[in-house]
Amino acid sequence: MKIWKYGDNIDTDMLFPGKYVYDCNTPEEIIPHLLEDLDSSFAKNVKEGDIILAGKNFGCGSSREQPVIGFKAVGIAAVVAESFARIFYRASINQGLLLIECPDAVKAYSKGDNVSVDIENGKIIIGGKAFSFPSLPGEILAIRDAGGLLSYTRKKLKKNSG
């Protein structure tokens, strides 16, 4: 498991360049361009279970769900940041990607530290130290736990019509 560490204000153009937005929609089309202008080694080397660690305002900029779909598809276990931009935050809930807002954890990380996430207990362990993060409100967890907004919506539509 690898930790990919980035700084503040990682914007949606760095996560997935705008020029591909109307050409790439499926995970296969998206994956090769993930973080292309930020870190060209990411798409080649990312593995299932890897974690992204970042500073403030991760995902600022456009309404762009390709990076979220891409992170999910390559198996990113969690994105841990000091803070997230709100559209990116919503997009992640809607795709069932785990985001953890925990500035102390990000600041405590130094290269080589082991990182693990205990979702049940709302804890992230970095280099042996545990940091808690608040759980999401029930309404939102229901969406994430359904595997994302579309499966949540499908269930709701079925229930209403059935």
Binding site: T12, P17, K19, Y22, K56, N57, S63, R86, R90, Q95
Partner: protein, 429 residues
């Protein structure tokens, strides 16, 4: 204790009596805006659309604006899929290639109105706070679900009250105000918040308020809001909408804000946002003389008649520097027509400007005016992210239409004020 704009309007739309920030509510927006991204969005929900249909024909507003006219077979096909969807589901509000940028259309066509709640799968949906609407950006998947169900959740945001005091000095514009604020509070300074603008806002036309609200998302805001006043009402009646057609929602004087900020407009100078963050803001005087290769006046931030009027006043009888190109991007067909009638387009073309079709053009780097490595663009758009104009090794600088127009003459960043550096003779102010 009184209520903020966000608390009041979200209470209205969720059917709750009184709301406080932090609560999660379910709302049914008046409109859902989508654009070229409608094709991938409907592809996600094809079986559900077939089984349940869309929630309502009047909910979606679809505008083709991002990559127009189509640049490839793929984008052409996307447009075709959207046209077929519009036809099959009898979507009431559809604006094909050529109408203009979606956000401009929402306001210009009277779809965004005071007291309305609008969501859109585009981050600059926050623009309609300029006329007193609550509007905010969401992602594509959420827009797809909204097409089916007509509802979604919103967290009641904390609100920030920004009081704009005194008057702007000549040569300083609304764009400088919003860049100055973002430089001050940072690109995440209003994260998740509703930002309300108060104080001496009378001096700002609806077009100028649009520029400010448009960039709310660049400070992280969920929505941006200007109270409805005579200026708003006059604008709405100019596009044929009488006060009986809307009901404004105003915050209470004793509402509780998480932060209150005051800005003295009379000391704000023309500014430029340097690469690659919108909050990397410097006074124009600190970057005067920097060589620029491409200039862009337009986009949903600054592509309206008042923006081109300023540009034309500066460029009248002058020529852009021979080593540079100046791109002009009207935000809508209506703006284009009005600019033609006023002779503005003649002036800009004679000065060397290249007129692009109303839409997003080079703003997102997909076509029309992509930059080469090491090139610099001075633009009136809202974002200067790395790679935004199609090349990660290019640089984007953001400024007002006045600064861009004055700079295009010299091929270098220029202070647009009378007597400003490189610009001693500018008599227009």
């Amino acid at each position: 204790m009184g209520e903020t704009f966000a608390e009041k309007i979200l209470a209205k739309y969720s059917g709750e009596k009184k709301l406080v920030s932090g609560k999660i509510v379910t709302v049914k927006p008046d409109h859902l805006l989508t654009h070229d991204n409608t094709a991938p969005l409907i592809q996600k929900i094809e079986p559900e659309l077939e089984e349940y249909g869309i929630y309502s024909k009047s909910l979606p507003v679809i505008v083709l604006d991002h990559v127009i006219p189509a640049v490839s077979e793929k984008t052409a096909n996307n447009h075709k899929i959207i046209r077929e969807f519009v036809k099959n589901y009898e979507i009431e509000h559809f604006f094909d290639v050529g109408y203009g940028v979606c956000h401009q259309i929402m306001v210009e066509k009277g779809l965004a109105l005071p007291g309305k709640l609008i969501l859109g799968s585009d981050s600059h949906t926050c623009s309609y706070g300029a006329i007193g609407a609550f509007s905010s950006g969401i992602d594509r998947t959420e827009a797809a679900a909204l097409m089916l169900t007509g509802e979604t959740w919103l967290k009641v945001p904390d609100s920030i009250r920004m009081t704009l005091e005194n008057k702007l000095r000549p040569g300083v514009t609304a764009k400088d105000v919003v860049l100055h604020i973002i430089g001050d509070i940072s690109a995440s300074g209003a994260n998740y918040c509703s930002v309300e603008f108060h104080g001496n806002i009378k001096q700002f036309s609806v077009e100028e308020r649009f520029t400010i609200a448009n960039m709310g998302v660049e400070m992280g805001a969920k929505n941006a809001f200007f109270p409805v006043d005579e200026v708003t009402k006059k604008y709405l009646s100019s596009i044929g909408i009488p006060p009986s057609k809307y009901s404004a929602i105003q915050p209470d004087d004793d509402a509780l804000y998480s932060k209150e900020l005051k800005y003295n407009l009379s000391v704000i100078a023309p500014v430029v946002a340097l690469p690659h963050n919108v909050d990397n803001v410097k006074k124009v005087t600190e970057v005067v003389g920097l060589e620029i290769h491409q200039f862009l006046i337009g986009t949903c931030t600054n592509g309206r008649l008042s923006d081109f009027r300023i540009a034309a006043r500066i460029l009248k009888g002058k020529k852009v520097h021979p080593n540079v190109r100046l791109l002009i991007l009207p935000s809508s067909r209506q703006v284009y027509l009005d600019a033609l009638k006023e002779g503005i387009i003649d002036i800009l073309v004679e000065a060397g400007g290249i007129i692009l079709p109303p839409g997003c053009g080079p703003c997102l780097g997909a076509h029309q005016g992509v930059l080469a490595p090491k090139e610099r663009c001075l633009s009136t758009a809202n974002r200067n992210f790395k790679g935004r104009m199609g090349c990660k090794d290019a640089e984007i600088y953001l400024a007002s239409p006045a600064t861009v127009a004055a700079s295009a003459i010299h091929g270098k960043i220029t202070d647009p004020r009378k007597g400003g550096t490189l610009n001693e003779d500018l008599e227009i102010w």
